[in-house]
């Protein structure tokens, strides 16, 4: 079995990185963008591992482990931030957040806005614990 050449690893890494970059630049969903950023990171990590194996030292591998650990923390933080942003605008569209532009510039409006998601059915609400429900919805009256 012939060993896989270095170029193959690098190609996979480059492909991952490029896909991630393109995705990051083109998608507007915050979570997708975040995933794309992670993908770029993993492309770089593959490069590191490949070079480490090619050179025969463990430094690159150790660094990759660190990258993965850091990426995990980063994921936790960025998901939390995305959650906050979502709570503010009820949307994951990144183009809603342009407030840090120069004050005299107009915001950039997309000619083709995102389709508004269908209104989700209201979530069932639970009665307060330890108290008799005051009114019972009609649909459930037969229970």
């Amino acid at each position: 079995m012939t060993p896989v050449s270095l170029e193959s690893y690098l190609l996979v890494g480059a492909a991952l990185f490029t896909l991630g970059l393109v995705g990051f630049l083109t998608r507007r969903n915050l979570i997708i963008m975040f995933l794309c950023a992670e993908m770029m990171l993993q492309g770089v990590a593959i490069n590191l591992v490949a070079f480490a194996r090619y050179r025969g030292n463990m430094g690159g591998q150790v660094l990759t482990l660190f990258i993965i650990a850091v990426a995990a923390c980063e994921a936790a933080i960025s998901l939390a931030l995305i959650l906050v942003l979502f709570k503010r605008r009820k949307s994951l569209d990144v183009s809603l957040w342009q407030d840090l532009r120069e004050p005299d510039q107009d915001p950039i409006e997309d000619e083709e806005p995102l389709p508004t998601p269908p209104r989700a059915a209201p979530l069932p609400t639970l009665p307060v614990a330890g108290r008799e429900p005051v009114s019972v919805p009609k649909e459930n009256s037969h229970v």
Binding site: F24, L25, M33, L100, R101, E102, D104, Q105, I108
Partner: protein, 699 residues
């Protein structure tokens, strides 16, 4: 203690300074109406040490002490060095003694003023600066005291700063004397630059400067510059215009400026630098001519003023002219002792009677509810008995009535001028100056007693303001008086016309109130009156004063004494009986004429004024000097300032703004990429990294 004043010499400027600091920092919060205590103690303490200094100088001490080195520049050491000799001792005595009396007077006069602590702080600083000036052994230190005096005069003349006229007068005083100060500074620099280069390190100590003066080719120019400085401070023509305006300050300040401090600084400077001036008789001639002209001009102006304090102000200018005339008469080594001691003696006696006259005027003003215009009151000798007889003592001494202080010192001065006409190449000029001095003496007697008779004789007239609650409205009332004499008063009004006005208004005014000032103000008057009467006869004809100066200063061992600089010949001090009789007659004639004009037949002056209305207006309007200076100097200076403003605003500011515009423009170009879109930023970043990679690959 009585042999060497150096251990306590530094306390003389330090004590009033300390008092001023305490009054300034503790006054407004804690001391309040007791703020005079630190300054009073400081000035009395300084006076005590000044007496000790004078005693030890009398015991034969002449010398200086370097307390510490103030700063060093290259090979120039400027030291904080004070000296003690007869001249310094006399000046210190005058300044601290008169200063202390004025502080006591001011306690009564300024009582209740909202700026009470500020007043005493400034007075203390004033005394500190003046004592530093007269005891400095170093020209730079002298200059520091000189400027300190200037600043304090600004603070005190503008004491009632909310009054526009006072603020303007303070500014005028500061700027005009500043003009002279520039001259003084140039003079000092010339003395230093062209001084004794063989001495190393360079020094501006008086001894070094005087020792090297003989070889200085610039000595004439330097002396002239020193005289310009002295003329600014001592109000000689044409820089005299600030002194009459200085009346805007509180009256004790006027007394302080006119008698003890400030104006005597110029006289002191020239007397101190006599070893330099004797070497350049041409400059001495300039000094004498300017001085004689000033004294005559000021006397002529004083003839027609109706503001009591203005009369006194112009008389000060005139008397300062006398002092400078004496100093300028020292055109030959033989005359030095006579001329310089005459000048300093006149300074000394003048300090007594002029302080007395100003404080008495202040007492009149205080009693009259801050009215100082002589047209508004008259016949006050029954109303203000103590003020009246003290004022009379001062007026008689100023007029040169025989055997009073002013008589002896003025006599010495005319004797010196007459002596100068026997020596040197300008003898005939000095002869003319002598005649001018005699005329001025007659005018002095006349205008002094004109003021006296108008104020204290004739029908008793007291303005209504005197009976009102004159708590402390100095400012407004004096501004009112100022307005009166600024207008074109007709002669008839000038002397007795306003009586109707004073009586015309009736109101619920209690006319039984006692008007005489409180004892706190009268005691200094009495002390000064005794001085004005007897200081002259005690020290003048007995030769005590001249011998003190001669033995302990001019013949001093150091180079500051004149021995070694001049072929010093002793001319015996003798009394000039012929001159004394002449000047006595002139003085009495002046007084008699004033009595005839203003008591016997008060209609005569008005008639004379009408028949010579041109001259009268000229004198009354101060020879239009203020207007002439305004047109010649102030207007062009203002125009220049306007041009400078345009240059500053459009050219200098334009350049600065341009430098600021460049980054703004660059920012304008690149600002659109800040659009707030995360992905746009990421795209630019990717492109940038790509660009760098491309550049590296293609290299």
């Amino acid at each position: 203690m009585f042999d060497d004043p150096r251990p306590y010499l530094w306390l003389i400027p330090a004590l009033p300074f300390l008092g001023a600091v305490l009054a300034a920092f503790l006054g407004p919060r804690y001391l309040k109406d007791k703020s005079h205590w630190p300054v009073l103690l400081g000035s009395v303490g300084a006076c005590f040490f000044a007496v000790l200094t004078a005693i030890s100088v009398g015991n034969g001490f002449v010398g200086a002490k370097v307390y510490y080195t103030w700063f060093s520049l290259g090979n120039l050491d400027v030291t904080f060095a004070l000296r003690a000799d007869a001249l310094t001792a006399v000046m210190l005595l005058t300044v601290t003694f008169i200063g202390s009396l004025i502080v006591i007077f001011a306690i009564g006069y300024m009582h209740g003023d909202p700026g009470y602590p500020r007043f005493f702080a400034a007075v203390g600083l004033f005394l500190a600066a003046m004592t530093l000036l007269v005891s400095a052994d170093n020209f730079i230190l002298l200059y520091a005291g000189w400027e300190g005096v200037g600043v304090c005069s600004y603070l005190l003349i503008g004491f009632w700063y909310h009054k526009p006229s006072a603020a303007a007068a303070a500014r005028k005083a500061f700027l005009v004397t500043r003009l002279g100060d520039i001259g003084l500074f140039i003079g000092i620099v010339l003395l230093w630059l062209h001084g004794p280069h063989s001495h190393s390190p360079h020094s501006l100590d008086m001894d070094t400067v005087f020792a090297g003066a003989a070889g200085n080719v610039w000595l004439g120019v330097a002396c002239f510059c020193l005289f310009v400085g002295a003329a600014g401070k001592s109000a000689q023509f044409p820089l005299h215009v600030w002194l009459p305006d200085a009346m805007e300050g509180p009256t004790p300040v006027s007394a302080l400026i006119h008698a003890a401090t400030m104006v005597t600084a110029g006289v002191y400077l020239l007397a101190r630098c006599t070893p330099l001036f004797v070497l350049v008789p041409e400059v001495q001639l300039i000094v004498a001519v300017v001085a004689a002209f000033t004294s005559l001009l000021a006397a002529l102006i004083a003839l027609t003023q109706t503001d009591l304090k203005k009369v006194m102000a112009y008389s000060t200018i005139s008397q300062l002219g006398y002092m400078f005339l004496a100093l300028g008469s020292a055109n030959h080594p033989k005359l030095v002792v006579l001329a310089v001691s005459a000048a300093i003696f006149h300074l000394f006696t003048h300090a007594f009677f002029k302080a007395l006259l100003f404080l008495a005027s202040g007492s009149v003003m205080h009693a009259m509810g801050n009215i100082i215009d002589m047209r508004r009151f008259g016949g006050l000798r029954k109303v203000l008995p103590t003020t009246h007889w003290t004022f009379l003592c001062g007026a008689a001494a100023l007029a040169g009535i025989p055997f009073l202080s002013g008589f002896w010192s003025k006599d010495d001065i005319v004797a010196a001028t007459l002596g100068a006409s026997h020596y040197g190449m300008f003898g005939s000029v000095y002869h003319g100056l002598f005649i001018i001095a005699m005329i001025t003496a007659g005018l002095t007697a006349f205008y002094t007693f004109r003021a006296y008779f108008l104020t204290f004789w004739g029908e008793t007239r007291v303005p209504d303001e005197a009976y009102m609650d004159h708590g402390h409205a100095h400012g407004d009332a004096h501004a009112d008086a100022h307005g009166h004499d600024a207008g074109h008063g007709h002669a008839a009004h000038a002397d007795h016309g306003v009586a109707a006005h004073a009586h015309g208004e009736s109101g619920p005014i209690d006319r039984s109130k006692k008007l005489e000032s409180p004892p706190m103000m009268l005691v200094p008057l009495m002390i000064l009156a005794v001085g004005a009467l007897f200081v002259g006869i005690a020290l003048g004809p007995t030769g005590l004063f001249a011998h003190f100066l001669e033995d302990h200063w001019m013949r001093g061992t150091g180079a500051t004494g004149f021995t070694g600089l001049l072929p010093f010949e002793k001319e015996a001090h003798h009394l000039h009986w012929d001159l004394m009789i002449l000047s006595g007659v002139i003085a009495l004639a002046g007084v008699g004429l004033a009595f005839f004009f203003y008591v016997k037949s008060p209609a005569v002056p008005a008639r004379i004024a009408r028949s010579a209305s041109g001259l009268y207006d000229l004198s009354r309007n101060l020879f239009y000097l203020d207007e002439i200076f305004a047109a010649l100097i102030v207007k062009p200076a203002a125009a220049l300032a306007q041009v400078m403003r345009v240059i500053d605003f459009y050219i200098v500011d334009g350049l600065v703004d341009l430098a600021g515009q460049v980054p703004t423009f660059i920012g304008f170009l690149v600002r659109p990429i800040q659009n707030g879109l995360v992905q746009f930023y990421a795209l630019l970043m990717a492109l940038g990294v790509g660009g760098f990679l491309l550049a590296i690959l293609l290299k």
